[in-house]
Symmetry: C2
Subunit: 396 residues, 2 copies
């Protein structure tokens, strides 16, 4: 039987990252492809105890709850966001979601009719692009440099396209590993306020910050409370399997998103909400994050050493200040999508950069993850990648 699907299905593609992961996970390949945290560092004892505490509160902990999620965890997230300067008035301005992915999806669902415009960085988080495409929004990329979106281009495109929203990952962006300057954050906010445009600030990596002396103020912390939706997740700081993210913003928008969530899944896994509440209360999550930072930074530095030795082959990169990724640019003659097959044959995988672009993809780019592999695997994988580069890149 042939099935007739909705039009929006045309825009749904399986994520390149996840498809590659499927293949790579089956073989003996060292993968820098995924966006995975290192499971060896998962605080499994803390989480086990957190679940014990949740169970100790009795059978009611296993009943249906309200769509917005477990209230004490939302209360606690208000506190944690406050430490970053983000002030929300009450838990009615926090919605718990199944990972921050669902926050992006619910936002798009309540916001975009076909053809509505959203501005994004380019490249940007590809699963966000997939969501916006699936609701048939029109995605317009804004030009950026290493400090963030270029104000002139942003202003021009706000005027020309009248977007409903600007989607940004300003702190340790995925894939580019970039940090926006304070000036660029302020400029974006100022334009958004002037033009009545909503900013969607996606901050999954903000806590993985290598240099403690620097301050990267969330755009949500600069706002008057009306223009920024801020989303983050426990997937990178605690564990991914609990699929717990959240979104904070004006109640007018969250109320509608909550109605959409009710249709989507009634509510997220509330036993996990309770466990995460106990984890934050009884386990030193901030100390754990500091450990993660130490380990991840040393892995980044190790990968950096390998990349430095590749500069002679024209390999370009910026040293990340946090997050999980190196963004690499090779000679323009190289197509990293084509090169991937060869790399996998040599026993190493990465993500080609092209799918992260809204349009005009730079085919000579790739993303390397430094958090999931041990130092040994980083050395081994980078040696394999070096071999591939030596064969396919000419010295500059």
């Amino acid at each position: 039987m042939k099935y007739a699907f909705a039009n929006r299905v045309k825009h749904l593609k399986s994520s390149a990252v996840r498809d590659i992961l499927k293949v790579v996970n089956q073989g003996n390949v060292i993968s820098f492809a995924g966006g995975l945290p290192d499971d060896d560092l998962f605080p499994i004892e803390g989480i086990r105890e957190a679940f014990s505490s949740a169970f100790a509160s009795g059978k009611k902990s296993l009943q249906y709850i309200e769509t917005e999620g477990y209230a004490p965890l939302r209360e606690l997230l208000l506190e944690r966001m406050k430490r970053k300067g983000i002030e929300r008035s009450s838990i009615n301005e926090v919605l718990l979601t199944t990972g921050s992915q669902q926050a992006i999806d619910l936002f798009a669902r309540v916001m975009f009719d076909r053809g509505d415009v959203i501005l994004t960085e380019n490249p940007t988080y590809l699963a966000a692009l997939q969501v916006f495409q699936s609701y048939e929004a029109k995605i317009i990329p804004v030009m950026s440099d290493e400090h963030g979106m270029l104000p002139d281009d942003l202003e021009y495109k706000m005027k020309k396209y009248k977007p409903k929203c600007v989607y940004v990952v300003p702190t340790f962006s995925n894939p580019a590993g970039k940090v926006w300057s304070l000036e660029r954050r302020q400029k974006l906010l100022q334009l958004a306020q002037k033009k009545h445009v909503v900013i969607f600030e996606d901050d999954p990596y903000g806590d993985i910050q290598f240099n403690k002396d620097e301050v990267y103020t969330p755009i949500a912390a600069l706002d008057d409370g009306n223009h920024v939706l801020y989303t983050s997740t426990f997937s990178k700081t605690a564990v991914p399997a609990l699929r717990t993210g959240w979104i904070a913003g004006p109640n007018q928008i969250l109320r509608i998103m909550s109605q959409a969530k009710q249709a989507n899944d009634l509510h997220s896994n509330s036993l996990s909400h309770q466990a995460l509440y106990h984890l934050c209360r009884n386990f030193d999550l901030d100390g754990h994050i500091n450990n993660l930072i130490t380990v991840y930074q040393s892995r980044m530095k190790l990968m950096l050493q390998h990349l430095q030795s590749l500069e002679s082959l024209g390999v370009k990169y910026i040293e990340p200040k946090g997050g999980m990724f190196f963004w690499i640019e090779l000679d323009e003659s190289i197509n990293t999508t084509e090169l991937l097959q060869t790399a996998v044959q040599h026993g190493v995988a990465y993500v080609p950069g092209a799918p992260f672009y809204v349009d005009e993809p730079k085919q000579n780019t790739m993303r390397l993850n430094f958090t999931h592999s041990t130092p040994e695997k980083i050395n081994e994988g980078m040696e394999k990648l070096t071999k591939v580069f030596q064969i396919h890149l000419q010295s500059v």
Copy 2:
């Protein structure tokens, strides 16, 4: 700031059931309104042990997994469905979802463009109606009697409206508590096969069957494998908080739904998948379900006694053969939505029947849940409801 939402937001309404629950839960009201299982019966020890087993498998249990969900649980669900006669060829035909609500939502997302037609019973599960409306599908109700949809009306509407899908809850339907006859199941399937229409069979309550001697064959078990999507959940048999449902059907459709799920939330809570796997393997879930049936049936019988004594006031109902609900019809002069306020003042709540209708709601209907209240509360609540009826209904 005024925000501009998508058109589909107009179709999103907060569920009447959940809004009532919010109010009722704050007060001292006995509620027959929700669709809640009794938390006193939750197998908390079994679930606690199941989580221990999941944790015992180590830190990898907390990592990201594939969108389709934890493979061994999908394998196990193949077995459990086989016992009902539903044969699927592999785990590629099973997708784990955040409750069966998400299965309905993902299906609608990949299936309906604005104006595409879906046939449903009338009344039917209101949160399914909300989903279909939110994707701007055109919902056409089919006439039913106590044995299921009327074949003539079904055939007429299939011809006239060329639906993409028929949505049914054939076993202990919500809200009507009805069981379709085998003949009506076969007739629906035969028409769907002839007209190349997909049947979406929603079966959250099928396991809560009071009379063990009767057989209610799922429509999916009668099919050639191409025309029926079958969804169910652990929310009524194990616990709701783990938000684990599943959908089984042709891989061609599930593959697309899985891509939609990837955009929606990457994957559902996989620690819970693992725990539910261990629960099914190491805990006597079927024995537990038998206990539930015994308790729920005795509560149904108790509520039945009260309803029998109300027949003189023109109160009509059918004794449910399973599930969680009585569906009540009062004299046509009564509007149960208006009466609810009075009932709550008397200390008892129900769900008015109107929101369960696609159109032409019978304002004199209501749904009563008999699973969530203890026998004492059922007696107390039904006495209060009787008082309300005695004031507002005239003897017949």
